[in-house]
């Protein structure tokens, strides 16, 4: 098992190090990630959504659907734990 683990580590590590070379430098303000979609978020969030916190504006308004999915994830995990762990009341005490 340890041999398989070492093999997977070497393969994944090799692939990751191979891909690092052409990434944009850390903190570059002209990288595509900072210059395509997000300038419009920063410029227009305050006047379109009236929220001074841009992260809240994106999370609750532009991408509010992802937030709905995230609350569904928490609900699913809670009901899943109830499904798996609840025991019958009589004779077993409180199941945790």
């Amino acid at each position: 098992m340890k041999v398989i683990a070492i093999l997977i580590i070497v393969l994944t590590g090799g692939l990751l190090i191979y891909g690092v070379e052409e990434m944009p430098d850390w903190g570059d303000p002209n990288s595509p990630a900072s210059s395509h979609v997000s300038p419009k978020y920063i410029k227009e969030a305050l006047e379109k959504t009236a929220t001074p916190n841009i992260v809240t504006a994106v999370l609750g308004d532009y991408r509010g659907y992802d937030t709905m999915g995230e609350t569904a994830v928490i609900f699913t995990a809670g009901i899943g734990c109830i499904l798996m762990l609840r025991k019958k009341r009589k004779g077993e005490g409180e199941g945790d």
Binding site: M1, K2, I4, A5, I6, I8, I9, T12, G13, L16, I17, V20, E21, M23, D25, W26, G27, D28, P29, A33, S34, V37, S38, P39, Y41, I42, K43, L46, E47, A50, P52, N53, I54, V55, V58, L59, R63, D66, T67, G69, E70, V73, I74, T76, A77, G80, C81, M84, L85, D96
Partner: protein, 135 residues
């Protein structure tokens, strides 16, 4: 060579964390250690995303302080894009952190079920019990 390592050192940090997490998930024999490895692995991915959004040159958090009332709904304050960092990776990672916690919770509940049945949490002992009882 040193320049290459230093200019992209956020990537090296997350690569090392990811490999540690992956080794723990595959190579360790205790089920709880596998779970902790899964947590480390997901944290590495989250760190990677957050490090994308940084902008050098004195950029600050993407919250409008102070002049919020003046610019509220009227847009008469000029907003300089280069002085606020990228908000999108932070948004995505808020969701990813919640998903990671939920998965850890469900996995711990499954571990409780395994412990009730096999009375141990070591992988080789569980496999031996399964082979002996013919499950």
């Amino acid at each position: 060579m040193l320049e290459y390592i230093v200019s992209k050192y956020n990537f090296w940090v997350y690569v090392i964390l990811l490999l540690i997490g992956l080794y723990a998930m595959v190579g360790k024999k205790n089920l709880v250690k596998k779970l902790i490895g899964m947590n480390i692995f997901q944290s590495a991915v989250i760190l990677f995303y957050v490090s994308i959004g940084v902008k050098k040159g004195g950029a600050t958090v993407p919250i409008f302080l102070g002049n919020a009332h003046a610019a509220h709904g009227h847009g008469n304050a000029i907003i300089d894009v280069a002085s606020y960092i990228n908000p999108l990776p932070h948004v995505l990672m808020l969701t990813a952190i919640v998903v990671s916690i939920a998965t850890t919770g469900v996995a711990l509940a499954v571990l409780i079920l395994i412990f009730r049945r096999y009375k141990t949490l070591e992988l080789d002992e569980i496999i031996k019990i399964r082979k002996d009882t013919g499950v």
